[in-house]
Amino acid sequence: MMTQRQSRLSGFDNRTLFLLGDEAAAYGALYAGCDFFAGYPITPASEIAEVMSRELPRVDGYYVQMEDEIASLSAVIGAVWAGAKAMTATSGPGFSLMQENIGYAIMTETPCVIIDVQRSGPSTGQATKPAQGDVLQARWGTHGDHEIIALAPSSVQECFELTVESFNLAEKYRIPVILLMDGEIGHLRESITFPAYEDVAREERRLAEPEVESFGGEDVPPMSHFGEGRFIHVTGSTHKASGMRDVSTQAVHEDLVTRLCRKIVDACAEISSVEEDFVDGAKIGVLAYGATARPARGAVLEARRAGCAVDFLRLITIWPFPEEAVKRLADRVDTILVPEMNLGQIAREVERFTAAPVLPLSKIGGVPHTIDEILDAIRANGSGSGSTVGQRP
């Protein structure tokens, strides 16, 4: 017997559609098993909410529009503890408002997905223009020590696939996963081919056996849901494996927060996903992610056609930072070029793993890089002479 979700979604099986990145991400969520969405309108993420409001009732899921972004993430977390796979979507200003509750989700190990369709900031900035300015905010935006998982799609197809992946990682590691889209990818349309519903790998929630504690015992403990007579206690305060508060014992806090970080840091290799395309003799490497990776890839291919050996590394996982892949690149080339739609955020991270010059190719103002701009920068630095593209701030 087909579930309602199966019968609705299998209607899309193997079809090629011409969709917005936002829409593709929404469908990705539906394929991943998302049955709850709470959100608040914001450009350029509203289309995700709009698709969810149309589609969720058809797959026996629930959509609610809350009074603000704080409430949206609150409702998502509440729904997860009541058994849902849940998601919200927003952009910069809303993402800033969500920061407190992102920390809450990390502390309570609540699996959920938050899509940030990045737009040009700070503040209200250019509401309709794309940017990649929230990359470090995704890592450091909430108070206190924590780790996070964040992914960045580079195509509409990937908006779909990485949303599925975000749900899977969220369940696997019991952590909020941030899908760092950008206004460019969110608002561009291109063709996307849906997989067969049956072929999508879905990580299902691991539930605790009776008497097993939900907040300790192993690095990623199994969860419990409300309404099962377990009388579970979920708190953002420092707590013991039982879930009960203990806010004054140093060791309890240290054990908890260290474990919350360790479960991600130790799994970095497993979580990390990159696209590596290295060629012999490259002196320069281009490292890019999200929308910027598109013209970057185009420029790399163009440069190679012109006889210049260039390495290409695309970060699909942004957090935890794919150190090993970056080190591999750093070991090969003399110069790393990092085109970004911000003032050099990931370039800073790259610097920690290489003594080679890291050249940010920053561009802000809502216009993505062109192939020519990146190509020019490759040409100017391809000899490895280290002449500068953008000054390190």
């Binding site: 349309r189 291109e190 993505p368």
Partner: protein, 177 residues
């Protein structure tokens, strides 16, 4: 093939680009469509770009345009420099003044007026325009375009849209009314 639709918000610019992209996908090609608009829902500057290709598309914005469709003076002034010398210019006759002309292969149509007078709905102007473009530019097939239109207009308005498209196409082909 890089096509830019440009004008004001509310003229159906984004929808036009979208329909072109869908038509390309129906034709079995790769297509990428983006849009750019201001905060205004109506009346602000707006553009929609479509890149149609047989191969994988890396660009996010077309560096040079093969076709520029301009439905406002501001759009014409802003985007003319991006049009290739051998590119095609398609204009809303009532709203764009080219002065002494730009030297491009240029086609003009009073799409808004036709829509207003013939169909009683200014909003049909973009369908008239799509028909007109379809007759002039060989980017996507007419069948693909008509299918894309029918899939994407509100139920109950298919016939009027079809007629508006037909009207534009007829004018584009220089056929008598």
């Amino acid at each position: 093939m890089n096509i830019r639709f440009s004008g004001f918000g509310g003229q159906g610019i984004v929808l036009s680009g979208y329909i072109f992209g869908v038509a390309a996908v129906f034709d079995g090609k790769q297509a990428l469509q983006t849009q750019s608009y201001g905060s205004e829902s109506r009346g602000g500057g707006c553009r929609s770009d479509v890149i149609i290709s047989e191969d994988e598309i890396f660009e996010l914005a077309p560096p040079r345009l093969d076709v520029l469709v301009a439905l406002s003076q501001a759009a014409y002034d802003a985007y003319l420099p991006a049009l290739r010398e051998d590119g095609t210019l398609i204009l809303e006759d009532d709203l764009v003044d080219t002065g002494n002309g730009s030297g491009h292969r240029t086609f003009r149509i009073k799409a808004t007026d036709i829509a207003h007078k013939k169909f009683g709905r200014k909003i049909m102007a973009n369908m008239v325009m799509l028909g007109f473009i379809c007759a002039i530019v060989e980017a996507v097939s007419r069948e693909g375009l008509e299918r894309a239109i029918l899939d994407n207009v509100p139920k109950g308005t298919e016939e009027m849209n079809q007629q508006a498209f037909e009207e534009g196409y007829r004018i584009g082909k220089g056929e008598p009314g």
